[in-house]
């Protein structure tokens, strides 16, 4: 069997670090030729029931004088079909968002195709995307390291282990979401001193959400086939309190083509300008204009199985107390509603 794969370590990046030893980076204003806006498909489905959103936007010139991504493909007809003849119609919710019903769930082993018919009749279709199974996460563990500098005494690195699925070429992606129950829904610094704040309580339960925005954590089993994959680094947790830290860790399956897409994206967005970086290339997604293959369509429609572990990370075992700052919170006699959105939620997270 012929294998092509990806060494787990990014050799090129190491060299870049070497060059950074003596280099310096400054901001630069290049001359760039803007190109016409292109349709971008952003969305994925999984084997868990839920509302899935596919967003259809247009790309924006790299140098832009307005707020970007305000052009959407509106009122298109969007469906997801599977290889068993199933079809789901997505409903348009405005600002380019198309949603499935809350009960929609994919099924491992099945492949899915996204169909998009724009208002002007242009027809786009994704390549069939197989929803591959995902193995469970075996163990999650941490290691603590004291920091010599900065505002923190130390930090915890969180790792997990899992068994690679036997007999198949597998690709994985992982991410994390941290929830924290917030007492205050509004904080304003008072003008008297920098440790002094005016705060307002939340009217109901309200959690803040944190994740690694723009992070791409992917893995190929090429050199680890059928083995235990250990010490997968997930996130770093600050030692700023002895209270448990709540985080949801998700392991997702990827297809080979999704892995390749994210691999190149990851290479390009982490580009640090070193001569040993690969020169950037045009990234091909999995959507095509059925009638005009020369029409560049950006983005990716993905399908993954998910294994999710909600966990409280114990931070109480460290002898030395965490560093803290004595803030003064002065409560105002009002309550503020939880502002639900990407950074806050009023719904209790799974596993809380």
């Amino acid at each position: 069997m012929i294998k092509t794969g990806y060494i787990p370590e990014n050799t090129y990046r190491c060299v870049v670090i070497y060059l950074l030893l003596i280099s310096c980076i400054s901001s630069y204003e290049p001359k760039l030729e803007p190109d016409s806006p292109k349709l971008t498909v952003d969305g994925w489905i999984s084997d868990q029931p839920g509302t899935y959103t596919i967003t259809l936007r247009y790309s924006s010139p790299y140098i832009n004088n307005e707020i970007v991504f305000t052009r959407y493909a509106e009122n298109a007809s969007v469906t997801i079909t599977d290889d068993a003849g199933g079809e789901t119609q997505l409903t348009y919710e405005g600002t380019g968002k198309y949603q499935t019903s809350p009960t929609f769930a994919g099924q491992a082993g099945r492949s899915y195709v996204l169909n998009i018919m724009l208002q002007d009749g242009t027809f786009y279709q994704s390549q069939p995307e197989m929803l591959k199974p995902v193995p469970p996460i075996d163990t999650i563990y941490t290691s603590y390291k004291e920091l010599s500098k900065g505002f923190l005494r130390g930090e915890f690195s969180v790792f997990f282990d899992f068994m690679d699925l036997a007999g198949t070429k597998d690709y994985y992606q992982w991410d994390w979401t941290h929830y924290k129950l917030e007492q205050y829904c509004h904080i304003t610094p008072s003008h008297s001193n920098e440790y002094d704040f005016l705060v307002a309580n939340c009217c109901g339960p309200c959690w803040s959400i944190d994740r690694c925005y723009g992070c791409i954590n992917i893995f190929s089993d090429t050199y680890y086939e059928d083995k235990k994959i250990s010490r997968v680094p997930v996130l770093k947790i600050p030692y700023d309190s002895k209270a448990p830290y709540f985080v949801q860790i998700r392991l997702k399956s990827l297809t080979e083509s999704a892995f390749k897409f994210w691999y190149i994206v990851s290479e390009q967005i982490n580009n640090s300008g070193g001569i040993f970086d690969k020169p950037p290339v045009t990234i091909k997604g999995n959507i095509v204009n059925v009638n005009n293959p020369n029409d560049q369509v950006l983005g990716y429609f993905g399908a993954s199985a998910i294994y999710e572990v909600p966990i409280y990370i114990d931070r109480s075992k460290i002898d030395k107390p965490p560093y803290g700052t004595a803030y003064i919170y002065r409560e105002r006699p009002i309550c503020i509603e939880c502002s639900v959105g990407p950074y806050r939620t009023d719904r209790q997270p799974t596993g809380w």
């Binding site: 012929i2 060494i7 787990p8 370590e9 990014n10 050799t11 090129y12 990046r13 060299v15 070497y18 060059l19 003596i22 280099s23 980076i25 400054s26 901001s27 630069y28 204003e29 001359k31 760039l32 190109d35 292109k38 971008t40 952003d42 790299y62 140098i63 707020i67 970007v68 991504f69 925005y213 723009g214 992070c215 791409i216 954590n217 050199y223 083995k227 235990k228 250990s230 010490r231 680094p233 996130l235 691999y263 994206v265 390009q268 967005i269 982490n270 580009n271 640090s272 300008g273 001569i275 970086d277 690969k278 020169p279 950037p280 290339v281 045009t282 990234i283 950006l298 990716y300 993905g302």
Partner: protein, 806 residues
């Protein structure tokens, strides 16, 4: 033509008559004239007998012979740029006489780029060639005080690179792996230490460096662009000496002398670097914990078997280590707490020189060159080592035959055997979960047979006619794949596997490579030259990064991977002024390249068992004009060079995946049209020398995005065309001063100080422009452009070196 033939016949008869007469009463005096310091033979030196005022000149190997009457003679031996010597000899039998001459440089004028004759550039058929003596290289201002053979070549016309801290040279629009880099005939697969900041050649042992960019002699083959021929000096045959130097990041020492007087002499030189203390001074944790270093050892032995035969051994070993330790890499992307890069070279050659007949000499050698690179990580569960290797073994014989006074023939044969181990992944710890993987080794046999005649047709017109026949056989054991016709070549389109047993011929190629040059002397100090050559290359370095990495693997020609070839035509006008004080030239060239390699978008080359699915072969073209002015004598010496050139590639496969920029011509990564350099040296007196060099060049092309889009919370720049934008221009000024506190020769210990300042006006030259979108979401959402400029040596670098000799 008829006239010159008649003239030639006349000389022939005269010579025959003379020889016949000589049999009875004359004795034969033969010998050699050589440079006292470098031991290099001096060609065209004159030996004149005072009594008869008759004389003889030495040939290209520095040898002479003459028939003389027995008795007492006074000879004057002279050579331009050297002190003349008067020698008294009594000749009773035929005998050998070796004469050493001392260069006049110390007392008179400086010669920066030394030619064997001061007007050699006008008269010989070679051009597209620059020769640098170690003396002129060591006078150039240097980075961190390290005299660098490879970097000095960058100041010559037609030579560029992709940026500071990169290995390799781009010569007349070529890729870095298209240069044959030789040290005493041994090919080197990597010319840089520590990612190109230092060259692999120890400056103490180098005698001279010759760069052939065009008109490449038929003797050299196997690469399509250029030959960088580094010649080591001969070990001192008269006395033992030690010299060396200590600098800020590296030190060197050289010991040489006679082991058996008159018979065996040797030199051994070593260098070691210690940059780590500089890293420790950094405030950044990831830099503090980095360590790097190299060492190398060069040795040369010369054994004089007899007056007519000599054996030389050259050996070279080097090691580079670069380690990123601690937590520097354990961010989210990298699953390891430290990584180590290592690369090594182990090279050797044994050469045998033999005077076979009066006019026939042989140089035969056996060569081995091994280059090895390893990447490793010690973490128990993910521990691995990833290694790749290339080995070159060769036997060859080169003959030089002075067939007639105006015909000098070179001919010979070389048989080279290449073996590569493209990649071996090993778990390096019992607990490691990595599966071992080995990309099978590849073998190839290269043969070259050549002949060339340097024919002086008339006083004004000479021709070099030559050709090389090259042959390549890719040899088993191997499994090779067949791909579906009418589909892009991918793993999925494999239809069949063909297995070859050990030694089976997988694929073979053969080619004739003509090498022709003509020289027409148009005036007493000027000439016109033109040349055509074709070159074939059967091995290449596979790399899709902007600059090649020391760890990039070498790939042999085999099924689906074709040999590269280049046709080059060039022409030039050469003129000297003021008694050869100024040497000037203007050259133009045009190159057409076949099967140049570029890569499919987004492919992975590391451990790729089917590189043919990732590589694309296309066409290339390069053209340019070079102007060179060299002042060789006087208290101010130096040179000026300016090059205008363009290099474009075109990859137009049958399928969109196998095209680059939609099959249109695009600028190569190293296309830098304007290139100017100025190197000046002012010798104030015997104690102090000032040097400066200035370089200017157009920035290299880079790829920039046209638009951006958002997927899954990640901002992604959209790049539509390769190399469509251009970096800001590059320029830099370096200066240095060498102080010899005690120029008189009274002391045995001689020391000198060199102060160098690199990039004196601290220009932040752009190494690259890049677009990093990670962790920059806010900026991207708004109108701000997140483009950055990386400058590698973006500041002033002063250094000091102490050199000694005793």
């Amino acid at each position: 033509m008829v006239k010159s033939l008649r003239y030639y016949l006349l000389i022939f008869f005269c010579l025959t008559a003379l020889l016949a007469a000589a049999q009875s009463q004359y004795l034969r005096l033969s010998g050699k004239v050589y440079d006292r310091e470098s031991k290099e033979p001096l060609a065209n030196a004159n030996i004149v007998f005072k009594s008869s005022q008759t004389g003889v000149s030495t040939d290209s190997t520095g040898r002479f012979q003459i028939l003389v009457l027995p008795g007492y003679h006074v000879l004057t031996v002279s050579y331009l740029g050297y002190k003349s010597r008067t020698v008294n000899v009594t000749i009773e039998n035929s005998r050998e006489l070796n004469i050493a001459l001392t260069e006049e440089l110390k007392t008179l004028d400086e010669v920066s780029i030394s030619s064997r004759r001061s007007d050699e550039n006008i008269t010989n058929t070679q051009f597209g060639t620059n020769k640098l003596s170690m003396e002129s290289i060591s006078k150039l201002p240097s980075f961190m005080g390290e005299v660098d053979v490879v970097k000095s070549v960058l100041l010559l016309p037609g030579v560029t690179n992709v940026g500071e801290g990169t290995t390799g040279l781009n010569i007349r629009g070529s890729n870095t792996d298209q240069n044959l880099i030789l040290m005493d005939g041994i090919p080197f697969f990597n010319s840089g230490h520590l990612f190109g900041f230092f060259s692999v050649f120890n400056p103490d042992v180098v005698n001279n460096v010759t760069l052939h960019k065009g008109g490449i002699p038929a003797k050299h083959g196997g690469r399509t662009a250029a030959v960088l021929d580094v010649k080591l000096k001969s070990p001192d045959t008269e006395k033992w000496s030690v010299n060396g130097g200590a600098g800020l990041v590296a030190s060197r020492v050289l010991v040489e002398g006679p082991v058996i007087p008159e018979k065996l002499s040797m030199l051994v030189a070593g260098r070691v670097s210690y940059p780590n203390y500089l890293f420790r001074m950094s405030s950044k944790e990831e830099i503090k914990t980095t360590s790097a270093g190299f060492y190398d050892i060069t040795t040369k032995w010369e054994y004089r078997v007899s007056d007519k035969s000599r054996i030389e051994f050259t050996g070279y070993a080097s090691n580079d280590d670069f380690k990123l330790s601690g937590d520097s890499l354990s961010n989210i992307e990298i699953n390891a707490t430290s990584s180590e890069f290592n690369w090594q070279a182990l090279n050797g050659s044994v050469a045998w020189y033999k005077q076979l007949g009066k006019n026939l000499t042989l140089r035969s050698s056996a060569i081995r060159s091994l280059y090895k690179s390893t990447i490793s990580s010690p973490d128990s569960s993910n521990a691995y080592t990833l290694g790749s290797q290339i080995r070159y073994q060769s036997i060859n014989a080169d003959f030089t035959w002075q067939a007639a006074p105006n015909h000098e023939l070179d001919f010979g044969i070389a048989v080279n055997y290449y073996t590569t181990w493209p990649g071996t992944l090993k778990p390096d710890h019992p607990a490691s979960s990595i599966n071992p993987l080995q990309i099978p080794r590849e073998n190839g046999l290269e043969m070259g047979i050549y002949a060339s005649d340097q024919w002086k047709v008339s006083e004004r017109f000479s021709v070099q006619l030559g050709a090389r026949y090259s042959q390549w056989q890719a040899l088993g054991k191997a499994d090779k794949y067949e791909y579906t016709q009418g589909m892009p070549r991918t793993i999925e389109s494999i239809t069949d596997t063909v297995s070859y047993a050990d030694g089976d011929i997988i694929r073979s190629f053969a080619a004739i490579e003509p090498r022709v040059s003509v020289t027409l002397k148009v005036g007493p100090t000027s000439s016109l030259k033109a040349n055509y050559n074709r070159m074939y290359q059967y091995v290449q370095q596979v790399s899709n990064t902007t600059a090649s990495m020391p760890s990039d693997r070498w790939q042999l020609c085999t099924t689906h991977i074709n040999p590269q070839s280049t046709d080059q035509v060039s022409a030039g006008y050469f003129r000297n002024f003021q008694n050869d004080m100024f040497e000037t030239s203007a050259e133009v060239f045009y190159k057409s390249m076949n099967n140049v390699t570029d890569y499919k978008d987004g492919v992975n080359l590391l451990l790729n068992p089917v590189p043919e699915t990732a590589m694309l072969q296309g066409r290339g073209r390069a053209y340019g004009a070079e102007v060179f002015v060299n002042k060789k004598k006087g208290s101010v010496t130096g040179w000026f060079s300016y090059t205008y050139s363009q290099t474009h590639l075109k990859v137009n496969g049958d399928f969109p995946e196998e095209q680059i920029n939609n099959g249109k011509w695009y600028a190569s990564n190293y296309n830098r049209p304007n290139n100017l350099s100025l190197a000046l040296n002012y010798k104030r007196d015997n104690r102090i020398t000032y040097s400066a060099n200035f370089v200017y060049s157009t920035g290299r092309p880079y790829t920039s995005p046209s638009d951006k889009y958002l997927v899954n919370g990640v901002y992604i720049p959209n790049y539509t065309g390769r190399n469509q934008n251009k970096l800001p221009d590059y320029h830099r000024l370096d200066v240095s001063m060498t102080i010899d506190p005690n120029p008189k020769k009274e002391h045995r210990w001689k020391g000198s100080w060199t102060l160098s300042i690199y990039n004196i006006y601290a220009r932040k030259n752009a190494y690259s422009i890049f677009f990093k979108t990670k962790n920059d979401n806010y900026a991207l959402y708004l109108k701000k452009v997140n483009a950055y400029k990386l400058s590698v040596l973006g500041t002033i670098f002063p250094s000091i070196t102490y050199n000694y000799k005793f």
